[in-house]
Symmetry: C2
Subunit: 196 residues, 2 copies
DNA sequence: ACAAAAGTGTTAAGGATACACCCATGA
DNA sequence: TCATGGGTGTATCCTTAACACTTTTGT
């Protein structure tokens, strides 16, 4: 047994700030007898992440075997580091792709949004993360229908330009849940209304 | 640097045989300087797999860090080994879950089906892999609509009990493709008919 | 009154399941 | 001609994007 391939854990963290998707990449070598999750928590403050999941394990250019994680930080939480616009870095692209997919069929938005928000604010986050326009009307309808969003007491006062006060919402759950079962060919499930 | 955590590559291979989903699990230690794919090809005959993809990397009970792959073998190809009914093994369960998901939104069936088949035969494969009943009518319609299946010349003669001869089909592609863009909130894509 | 922002009602289109019915073959 | 397996036509349901219209505020 030679001291063969070195192994490391890389965190690719994403957040939306000022209407832009930003990324932060950090890696640490995997310690002897250390868990992947333990190494991850050395690489980044896991407490600041509302959600994280493993992406893939790949051989980096420098010959180390890296297990890559995707982490998401809510808009109202701070995590300092070298944040950059989510660009063309290969790992960041993979992480972004995963995020976009999950925004479509899970409640992953909870991990990017602040605790309480208006539909307009949520729309900005989705636009930045998805990279294409999203209609506020449909965003609300889809997420409410799926039981992902819940109304919160009160409204947000309009700005200096006026306008109707906006209703406040929050995500019903703060852990990842699949909300759109894309199970084609499945028998029709009769009483499949939201059970909550 | 101690000779820290050992790393291995595990192949979880699935196939459908006699209407049942079967699994084969094989693992090898990752050699020094060896690629994950190289180790995989030592663990199993990759040439017999119509498709394979990485599942996850996890710490096994014995303390080795294992990168797990899912492999799929077509019904008309042979790969010997200790095939067992796909059961409750944790890795096999994870692999089965991934397979079921991919059967819904990709053309993954190509990796389980023989080169040419009737809809009935394909239905048996889907039933075994998905674990629930599938209507032949809808299976055909969904897959043909998506451009996943193609007609092949000729028909299969009926058995001794009679019946109409069955049309033959094949998969249009033999590499994994996403056929159902579950992209909710996306603007309507106008000319998105099959481009082939 | 008017502009601006938010929210609701309604329409239309597409995808998918279910089911009734027609087709082709062997005995 | 009847049973059997295969295939097509059609109806219905559901989800969702689009858009017009109403509501509520500030100036």
């Amino acid at each position: 047994m030679v001291d063969s391939t070195r192994h490391s854990v890389v965190a690719v963290v994403l957040r939306v700030r000022d209407g832009r998707l930003e990324s932060l990449v950090r890696g640490v070598p995997l310690g002897s007898g250390e868990t992947l999750e333990e190494a991850l928590s050395r690489a980044v403050d896991v407490g600041a992440l509302a959600h994280h999941e493993q992406l893939e394990t790949r051989l980096l250019a420098d010959g180390t075997l890296a297990t890559v994680y995707l982490g998401l930080v809510p808009a109202d939480r701070d995590l300092d580091g070298d944040w950059r616009p989510a660009g063309s870095d290969e790992l960041v692209v993979a992480a972004t792709a995963r995020l976009r997919a999950k925004l479509s069929y899970t409640n992953a938005g909870f991990a990017l949004a602040p605790a309480v928000f208006t539909i307009s604010e949520l729309r900005e986050i989705y636009v930045a993360a998805l990279g294409h326009d999203v209609a506020a009307t449909n965003l609300q309808r889809v997420l409410v229908r799926r039981g992902v969003l819940e109304r919160v007491e009160g409204v947000r006062a309009p700005g200096r330009a006026g306008g109707r006060p906006a209703a406040l919402f929050r995500f019903a759950s703060s852990s990842l849940e699949v909300t759109d079962q894309f199970a084609v060919l499945a028998p029709r499930r009769p009483g499949s209304r939201a059970s909550a």
